[in-house]
Amino acid sequence: MATETNGAEEGGLVFHPMDQFEVQPFFGDGAVAWYTITNSTFWMALAVLATFVILVLGSSKRSIIPTRMQSVAELAYGFVYKMVEDICGKEGLKYFPYIMTLFMFIVCANFLGLIPTAFTPTSHFAVTVVMAMAVFLTVTILGFVKNGTAFLGLFWVASAPLALRPILAIIELISYFVRPVSHSIRLAGNVMAGHAVIKVFAGFAAITIISPVSVVAITAMYGLEVLVSFIQAYVFTILTCVYLKDALHPGH
């Protein structure tokens, strides 16, 4: 996975699978300070813009018989709305805008990242960790605010035999604190791995005999990546809903 350079003089195989993830200043060169506009910033802004175009411009006509863009907006709305309602119940609908925000941002960033030479903000742990930690903290605080100490019942599995409960409590506690880790690394890892694999196949294209196979492999991987982009956004959202359900109804 490391950035490997073999030099052009030795068969021309050059692998830079991780270079595409480098965060660089968008204007000019130099160090990346916290306020610098980087390529990551640019593609995040495009994701916000895409969300705006799909959901706001798409629905601007408010027509009863929807246009194509409005259908897309309504489809996205209905998809997330139904997910929240099915998993969290009616009380969860209060948090629907938060979940919709996460879903739209991830899905737009993922799909925009599939454009060749694009940068994918969601392939960075910095981005996904912040989102996962936000979900984790929200759920934990919300759980204690809504249920008080009854929220700790989440770790005390009442349906298990009494002797097993302390052990289960430890396991539940560990799995609870591991949630943001798996939640964030799943998204970034999937997106990063897919993009890196495509880059590796692209590196093989330098060999003339292999290049057709390489092109076919890139095409296939790209198709898979389109699927993964959506599914990972879906999984991130649905796990957010599941965690939120724990905060709203801590009983097992």
Binding site: T3, E4, M18, L55, R62, V200
Partner: protein
Amino acid sequence: MATETQSDGLADAIGVDLAEHASTPGMPQLDFSTWGNQIFWLILALIATYFILSRVALPRIGAVLAERQGTITNDIAAAEDLKAKAVEAEAAYDKALVDARAEAQNIVAQAKADIQADLDVAISKADAEIAVKAAESEKAISDIRASAVENVKVVAKDTAKEIIAAMGGKADAKTVTAAVTARMKG
């Protein structure tokens, strides 16, 4: 990833590479110097998205969906109304048809009864006339017959007297009359 041609130069290559990226680890994701930047812009992007969604997009789409649901419900209700009206109209039409048919039958029956009555009157009148005429005729016939019988009697008496006189006998008028009357009866 590595091919056989690479194996020799690999260590060097990595060494060179690491030297090039001395400031950053191999994975850009683990370069913590850029985390602050990304987190800052991410939070900004998420807040922007949140406000776009919660202030504009979601209420609007929700309203459109609710409105469409309302329109569909109304349309279905209107369709139900129209269907009920159509059924009503059909029932009314059927009723009118039945009424009309009944009336027509009534009129036909009435007309038939009237005609029958007229006919009966006419027949009875004709019968009466015929009866009168028949009686008259009968009377005329009986008169004729009576006068004929009288005439026969007279002729027979006269003839009988004449025959008797011609035969030389003396005709007693009373005897002849009695004889003729007796014969006429027989």
